[in-house]
């Protein structure tokens, strides 16, 4: 009986499919690529959470070094989980941490910040949720890293962890420091 390559075909197909599916199994389908990655931050203008504070405009993130935009809400459970990390980085002078209070009541948001601390240099209130939709936000918390040119360099859906910080955000901060 002659040996035929065709007999190996099903086996090799099976191996290839197995590898493709194994990669697929290990990817989190909830994590979607951001449409904004390496694009200019969309225009927005948000009123401050507290009257009297400056409003938050997308224009002010250009030409001022690195900015971290954190989308949060007092109703958001995982925001409480990442909050201690935000508090610990809030005094870092290498970047500015600002918050977008997403679909929240002003009183609830103030209470939340009173209770857990306020890590943000600036807070914009996105009551209608329109700005969040322009940013492609699908759930809170979500964090964007904006570079000095006003471009989105990174989007982290879900709570920040020390691991994400060290592996993904810290390198961008160092890169921005070098560029200065």
């Amino acid at each position: 009986m002659t040996f035929r390559i065709a007999t190996l075909l099903p086996v090799s197909l099976f191996v290839v499919m197995g590898m493709v599916l194994a990669v697929g199994l290990n990817r989190d389908p909830k994590i979607l690529p951001s449409m904004l990655l390496n694009h200019q931050l969309p225009q927005f203008d948000l009123p401050p959470l507290d009257a009297g504070n400056p409003k938050m405009s997308s224009d002010e993130f250009t030409g001022k070094g690195l900015t971290l935009i954190n989308v949060f809400g007092s109703w958001c459970v995982s925001c409480r989980y990442e909050h201690p990390l935000l508090m610990s980085i809030s005094k870092d002078p290498r970047f500015k941490l600002v918050g977008i209070d997403w679909k929240d009541g002003a009183d609830e948001a103030r209470q939340f910040l009173l209770q857990y601390g306020n890590p943000y240099a600036l807070i914009g209130a996105d009551v209608s949720g329109r700005t969040a939709i322009d940013l492609g936000v699908s759930g809170a918390p979500e964090t964007f890293v904006i570079d000095g040119k006003g471009q989105v360099r990174l989007r982290i859906p879900g709570p920040l962890t020390p691991q994400i910080w060290d592996q993904q955000i810290e390198p961008l901060i160092r890169e921005a420091q070098k560029a200065l």
Binding site: P29, K30, L32, P33, S34, M35, K103, S128, G129, R130, I133, D134, L135, G136, S138, G139
Partner: protein, 143 residues
């Protein structure tokens, strides 16, 4: 009797999804509302990822439904409305993915597998018959 119960059950089961779109969201213009429903059924809800925004009770889905209706009222075409959402959330929100470079495999693999299957079937059903016929002829000759 069982049939009647079954019908009642199906009706009750359908209520939940039928009322995701709240009356206050609907447009007065029936034609526009009809287009809005059709568009909403093609857009994926990002919170509960296997539902369309038309079926979903999530707040984000509701907000997106309102945006769809706003854009339509402003005079956008269906494609422009879908483009508006896809520009923000990517092609992932399209329940029917577009045919483009990175989705070629997705669209063409079924046809490729069908072709492979048909070819295999053709080989399987044709060859043995032909072989046995040849064998029979040889045996007959031998007699």
């Amino acid at each position: 009797m069982i049939r009647a119960l079954f019908a009642v059950f199906i009706f009750l089961a359908s209520i939940g999804s039928a009322f995701a779109v709240l009356p206050d969201e609907m447009l007065k213009d029936a034609a526009l509302e009809h287009r809005a429903r059709a568009i909403s059924q093609e857009l994926r809800c990002l919170v509960c990822q296997n539902e369309s925004i038309d079926d979903s009770d999530a707040t984000l889905a509701r907000d997106l439904r309102m945006i769809v209706r706003e854009r339509l009222t402003a005079g956008d075409s269906d494609a422009q409305v879908i483009g508006f959402v896809a520009q923000r959330y990517g092609n992932f929100v399209l329940l029917k993915p577009p045919f483009q470079a990175d989705t070629v495999l997705l669209w063409l693999l079924p046809f490729l597998f069908l072709a492979i299957g048909l070819f295999a079937a053709w080989r399987y059903f044709k060859q043995p018959g032909a072989d046995t016929l040849e064998l029979e002829n040889e045996l007959l000759k031998g007699d």
